[in-house]
């Protein structure tokens, strides 16, 4: 009894030491200085206190910056609308149980959604900026791709979970594809659609605050400018304002989703 217990302990010890050895190898491979790693938190704190700390809060209330906040919101809104319209169509084809053609449309739609999701929104921004130039059009396009990926994944999963018995009932009464969707599928996913829509808006706004950093307009552009000019006080003010806006939008979206869920119950 005692022997097995000790044996177990030895095995555990070997496992833990192997784990740490692998981490050490990773650090060695990535050429990371251990001294730098362990002093990182101290350096981070020192950086915050020395450079970022006196927040230049007046900068946030200048008209140019306030206008850029409005631009970010509008950019996120437009990207959301276009993205959700495209993504709803795509996810109709990308849901395995209700797709009209399983051989052709299903893999294409699924691939498009996965591809839009795999590439990060900042990379989309850079690509669109090279194609259509600096400005908010590129931002709207990038956010559209982001929404297609995000909304498409969530909504197609929701469509795959509908109760097929109700759908079959509608179909067996002689409804065509449009009617099957309108009376069999849509009533089941209506609440989920609204919930995902609001959630996507929240995430999309969060993305829209940052994509300006790579050439689309909005708050990100001000962030980039102040980072390049080493204006730490203004940078920290912008970061604080982004945090406050994101918290506000998060609270709003959580409140609205709760309300919708309560209304339908």
């Amino acid at each position: 009894m005692k022997n097995t217990y000790q044996n177990n302990g030895a095995k555990k010890f070997i496992k833990v030491s192997l784990f740490f050895f692998i981490i050490y190898l990773c650090f060695f491979y990535l050429n990371i200085d251990f001294e730098r790693f362990f002093s990182a938190l101290g350096r981070f704190g020192a950086l915050i206190v020395n450079r970022y700390y006196p927040v230049d809060i007046h900068y946030v209330f200048e008209t140019g910056y306030l206008k850029s906040i409005l631009n970010s919101v509008q950019m996120g809104y437009l990207g959301l609308i276009i993205g959700v319209i495209v993504a709803s169509l795509l996810s109709y084809f990308a849901a395995a149980n209700i797709t009209p053609s399983k051989k052709i449309a299903y893999p294409i739609a699924k691939f498009l959604i996965i591809f839009a999701r795999s590439i990060h929104e900042t990379i989309w921004t850079i690509l669109f900026v090279t194609i259509v130039g600096f400005g908010m059009l590129a931002g709207v396009m990038a956010l559209t791709m982001y929404c297609i990926g995000f909304f498409g994944k969530l909504f197609s999963e929701e469509l795959e979970n509908v109760n097929m018995k109700l759908v079959e009932t509608v179909r067996s009464n002689g409804a065509n594809e449009m009617q099957v969707f309108a009376f069999g599928v849509w009533p089941q996913v209506k609440t989920a659609f609204t919930g995902i829509l609001i959630y996507t808006w929240d995430v999309c706004f969060r993305a829209s605050t940052i994509i300006g950093f790579f050439g689309a307009g909005g708050m990100g552009w001000y962030l980039k400018r102040n980072v390049l000019q080493l204006e730490y006080a203004r940078t920290s003010a912008i970061i604080v304002s982004i945090i406050i806006l994101v918290i506000f939008s998060e609270t709003l979206s959580a409140y609205m989703r709760n309300k919708i869920q309560k209304e339908t119950q």
Binding site: F37, S118, T122, L127, T130, I131, F134, I242, I243, I247
Partner: protein
């Protein structure tokens, strides 16, 4: 009868105001769309720069094709990106354990004070975008893979610790009481009572976050941390557009592999 008629009347009146309200809501949404299109797309865009449809197609055609000579230089950054995501998630888990402990209502040591502090940390971690975290850490510890790992870890803390603390709050109280009644210390309660209960959820969350972190680590190079993002940035600066497509293909393949892997791991747990 009279009361009934009154009820119908008030009902239809309420219905009417509801419809009006809904109508106004949708109208305002559409008006905002038009305003946004006007200010964002029509006024702000440099239409001269875009030119006609032909010039857009010409721009797009630069991206067609792969630069295969680049492949041998991309394998190491791909591996670096992958390692960065793994180490970032691991460090994020270590950092989020104390935050989750403070942020769970039933085990938090100093009541409202520590609970509020932990919730504050979680919100900050989730609201700051990974690019901003990377910027701050590049300033703090210099270029290389280390700021990427730290940025990913700090970004992951919010999500992981929120899920863990919610799981701790929902954990079954009976085993905890039993251990406490048998004379177990606070550590014993944690180690034998809570951790076995929350372990499956924690592992599922970590796999999920790891999957997202691969996606995030691919862009860390844009602001000075290493990996595929740096390769992307370089190809973009050199205007080597087929090379850009190649890097994006590498990112895509890496993410697909990660997604398949995490799918199977999550299935194994359930």
């Amino acid at each position: 009868m009279k009361t009934f008629a009154l009820d119908v009347e008030t009902y239809s009146q309420q219905n009417f105001t509801k419809i009006i309200k809904k109508f106004l809501f949708y109208i305002s949404l559409v008006v905002i769309i038009f305003l946004s299109v006007y200010f964002i797309i029509i006024l702000d865009t440099d239409w001269h720069r875009i030119g006609s449809g032909d010039s857009i197609l010409k721009q797009l055609s630069y991206f067609v094709g792969l630069d295969l000579s680049l492949v041998q230089y991309l394998i190491i950054p791909t591996f670096e990106t992958f390692l960065m995501a793994c180490l970032g998630t691991m460090l994020g888990l270590f950092l989020s354990l104390p935050v989750a402990w403070l942020g769970a209502r039933n085990v938090t040591p100093f009541g409202m004070l520590s609970f509020g502090f932990a919730r504050f940390l979680m919100t900050i971690s989730r609201s700051v975008h990974e690019i901003i975290w990377a910027l701050i850490f590049v300033g703090a510890v210099g270029l290389g893979a280390l700021p990427g790992i730290l940025a990913l870890a700090f970004r992951s803390v919010g999500f992981i610790s929120k899920i863990i603390s919610e799981t701790i709050e929902g954990a079954d109280k009976k085993p905890i009481e039993a251990i406490r009644a048998a004379g177990g210390s606070g550590f014993d309660v944690m180690y034998y009572g809570i951790i076995p209960q929350i372990l499956p959820t924690v592992i599922g969350t970590i796999i999920f976050e790891w999957d997202i972190n691969i996606r995030r680590s691919a862009i860390m190079g844009l602001v000075g941390a290493g990996g595929l993002g740096l390769a992307f940035f370089r190809q973009m600066q050199m205007s080597n557009y087929p090379g850009v497509t190649t890097v994006i293909m590498f990112i895509f393949i890496l993410i697909i592999i990660g997604e398949i892997f995490s799918h199977f791991l999550r299935k194994k747990i359930h």
